[in-house]
């Protein structure tokens, strides 16, 4: 019997089969059957015709979109200045941004709750705002880090060349630095956008009682409706796949484009 290095992957393959592939098959089975075990696409059509489930998708998208934008607006300048500055305390500052990630997030949200309570008076008055603030607080480091890494890896010579050729600082940024940092932005966006669509614990803890995709799936399962819940999980999975395919292509092509420059 010949032993190849591939055999080392067996434990992981077993893991994958038991915990990823098998549950996925169950998911497919439940999504396309009804309570009597017959094949049906009702779960699918129902999701896209009911204004409430559709509204949940819409609300999750909106929430994730706003969160991602706020994160991007906050994170880009920070990452940019950190990456381009020459100060000696840079590692310390970076550490300060990363440190919150070491603390359990539900603890952080609990603390945030008290702060927001002081600022807003009655927390329940602004459920959408609360959710955006909570998610931004939670996901900001995931946006800063990839952008920071991308910008700090940029060849400084490119910027100097732009300046030499007569571009001013703003032009240099817009025509050189910004396009070249797109891969960082994209990986930051995908690390914030997708979890923000389903992280319902933040909403729960900050008194937003509207369902998003995560809580909607949960509500189906606690109502013993595994079929509807599985279908929504599948739809969410499909969305994630589409998103990953789009951004994956993009990162690749941008990477190649960068090399050509």
């Amino acid at each position: 019997m010949r032993f190849s290095r591939k055999s080392l992957g067996i434990p992981y393959a077993v893991f994958l089969v038991i915990f990823v592939a098998a549950p996925l098959l169950f998911l497919f089975y439940y999504a396309f059957t009804n309570g009597q075990g017959q094949f049906t696409v009702w779960n699918f059509t129902h999701f896209f015709t009911d204004p409430n489930t559709l509204g949940t998708l819409y609300y999750s998208l909106l929430l994730a979109l706003v969160t991602t934008m706020v994160c991007l607006l906050l994170a880009y300048p920070v990452a940019y200045f950190l990456a381009t500055s020459t100060m000696r305390t840079k590692p310390v500052v970076l550490m300060l941004f990363v440190m919150p990630m070491w603390i359990n997030f539900s603890l952080r949200i609990t603390a945030l709750k008290e702060i927001l309570n002081v600022l807003e008076g009655n927390l329940a008055m602004h459920p959408f705002l609360n959710a955006v603030v909570g998610m931004t607080y939670d996901f900001l480091p995931f946006m800063i880090l990839p952008i920071y890494t991308t910008i700090s890896r940029l060849d400084g010579a490119l910027r100097e060349a732009a300046m030499d050729l007569g571009a001013n600082r703003v032009q240099t940024f817009l025509r050189v630095t910004l396009p070249l940092s797109v891969p960082g932005i994209i990986s930051g966006v995908s690390m914030v956008f997708l979890p923000a669509m389903t992280n319902y614990v933040v909403l729960d803890m900050l008194y937003n009682s509207t369902y998003i995709m995560g809580s909607l799936i949960g509500s189906y399962f606690s109502a013993y409706n595994w079929h509807g819940g599985s279908m929504i999980s599948l739809i969410l999975l499909a969305l994630i796949c589409i998103f990953t395919l789009l951004t994956g292509n993009e990162e690749e092509s941008v990477g190649r484009g960068g090399a050509l420059l």
């Binding site: 032993f3 009682s209 509500s219 013993y224």
Partner: protein, 519 residues
């Protein structure tokens, strides 16, 4: 070189084997135990242990049993003797069972978070012998024929160790005998553990008792964003029905009807499509009015003063009031005039676990009885704050404990007489003041009112039956309609934002692609 490769192969296969061992069903594990060395087999499956040990798989609510380890000063000093929890209840049971019946029993104790979780766990094939769900899940399990009936022995009051049959409160026992599913009374399958009613915890500085005595307060704009409601469809539904039918339920005519109890139960369990429609509208209003739909946070929000009213189960209400007292912050508890949901958690034995194993069933029934022994019931009550269904029968300790908790000190200025004979006496009409507690006047609105609600509250209580599949589907759809964002209500700016982003991203992608092709 060869050696190293062989080592790797060995390691890989070992890790796969180890991994498999965690997941193989027990029958397979047993077969494996024949091949593997003896030492390993014991680790692999518990059944391989000495065969005279009975394994009892119990699944109970989280934090719903005394774990022992009390401080010395926590000792409950009753006239009939001191009570203190030194070891956990489960350990005490194992020891007691061995001393009493001469057999070893090993309790595998696990917990669940909600009735729905437990039901899903059972559907997925988790096996338990004895579980403690709420009344509506007991009804569902009964309807599905998933339960083993309690044995005749269990009901034999002549046996000294049958603490449940000898000590369960008569009014609870009556309810268990009168409520039927498919022609069979609950009592045949279920033994009660804890019980209570639903009501409202409120802050008396902001809310009057009268306001807190109606379910309508949940939708009252005067308390906008100052009330919380339970985040589960059954409790929300009950409150909604109570509020919508408030005028009918509180009318003199309805109350004086000789069939009041039956009518009330029918009205409160109204699941007609029209009613579901009305409930949906009402709850949509509530969603815009309440502070939150909460599962657990409501207690803390109440104590920290974030909200003024909190929809609560009586056991948790007692806990909330106790916690507030420690902060010198006074809260009260009221039960709405319309009606209140009387609920139980009870022990039932599962067919899938017990099967025909008489030894195991004996151990399971002994577990119920041990939990029902008055001193143990008191320990559990003290530890978790809920009210035990045990009134003690001939054992005076349960009533002594109520006195211990709520009787007024000698120097108390204002006291009232609080009659508990409906619970402790088998014959309330002729109890003759035997079960009256002299209690501080404010207890009429506080812990005692939650721990042992007065007879008039019990009078207007109603059982909420389980929803069958069809009702369940309709009511859950209603709940989703309430909780979800209706896309037709989306503001214009959100459409601009989403469509704008889509257009921008799409444009960017197309330009990129074209440019790449150009190269």
């Amino acid at each position: 070189m060869h050696n190293r490769i062989r080592k790797k192969t060995l390691l890989t296969s070992l890790s796969v084997l180890l991994f498999l061992m965690l997941f193989v069903p027990e029958s397979l594990a047993e077969r494996m135990s024949e091949i593997l060395p003896a030492g390993w087999a014991d680790q692999l499956c518990l059944q391989a242990q000495a065969s005279d040990t009975i394994t009892l798989r119990v699944c109970n609510w989280e934090e719903y049993i005394d774990l022992g380890d009390w401080d010395e000063e926590e000792t409950i000093e009753l006239p009939s003797g001191d009570i203190i929890g030194e070891n956990s209840m489960v350990e005490d049971f194992e020891e007691w069972y061995y001393d009493t019946y001469g057999k070893r029993v090993k309790v595998e104790y696990s917990t669940f978070g909600t009735n729905e979780d437990l039901y899903n766990m059972l559907t997925l094939g988790d096996v338990y012998d004895l579980v403690c769900p709420s009344e509506y899940l007991i009804m569902k399990l009964m309807a599905e024929d998933a339960l083993v009936p309690l044995s005749d022995d269990f009901f034999d009051t002549a046996q000294e160790n049958n603490y449940y049959s000898r000590g369960a409160a008569p009014f609870i026992r009556q309810m268990f005998e009168n409520s039927e599913i498919g022609g069979e009374p609950w009592a045949k399958y279920a033994a009660g553990y804890m019980w209570g009613v639903t009501g409202l915890v409120y802050n008396p500085e902001i809310v009057t008792r009268e306001q807190a005595s109606s379910w309508k307060i949940l939708a009252d704009p005067e308390f906008a964003r100052k009330v919380t409601i339970k985040d589960n469809v059954r409790d929300a539904y009950f409150a909604a029905v109570g509020a919508i039918k408030s005028d009918l339920l509180t009318s003199e005519e309805f109350r004086s009807d000789p069939d009041y109890a039956k009518n009330l139960e029918r009205e409160m369990n109204d699941t007609s499509p029209e009613m579901i429609e009305k409930v949906q509208e009402w709850l949509k209003g509530v969603k815009d009015n309440v502070f939150s739909f909460e599962t657990d946070a409501g207690k803390a929000d109440m104590i920290t003063g974030k909200v003024a009213v909190n929809y609560q189960w009586s056991g948790d209400a007692v806990y909330t009031l106790d916690q507030a007292d420690e902060d010198d912050y006074t809260l009260c508890f009221a039960v709405p005039e319309e009606s209140t949901d009387i609920y139980f958690d009870g022990w039932v034995m599962l067919r899938s676990g017990i099967g025909n194993d008489a030894d195991r069933q004996h151990a399971a029934e002994a577990f119920i009885n041990f939990m029902s022994r008055p001193d143990n019931a008191i320990r559990n009550m003290y530890y978790i704050g809920y009210t035990s269904v045990i009134s003690g029968g001939e054992d005076p300790r349960m009533f002594e404990y109520a006195q211990y908790c709520y009787e007024a000190e000698d120097d108390e200025e204002e006291t009232v007489e609080y009659d508990l004979s409906y619970f402790f006496s088998g014959d309330p009409e002729n109890a003759d003041g035997e079960y009256v507690i002299e209690t501080p006047a404010d207890q009429l609105e506080r812990q005692l009112y939650g721990q042992y609600p007065p007879a008039d509250v019990i009078g207007r209580s109603s059982i909420m039956t389980y929803f069958n599949d069809e009702q369940n589907e309709r009511i859950n759809q209603m709940w989703i309609n309430v909780r979800c964002f209706d896309i037709r209500r989306a503001p214009w700016w959100s459409w601009i934002l989403i469509l704008g982003t889509l257009v921008l991203v799409g444009r960017y992608l197309i330009i990129r692609r074209l440019r790449n092709k150009g190269r």
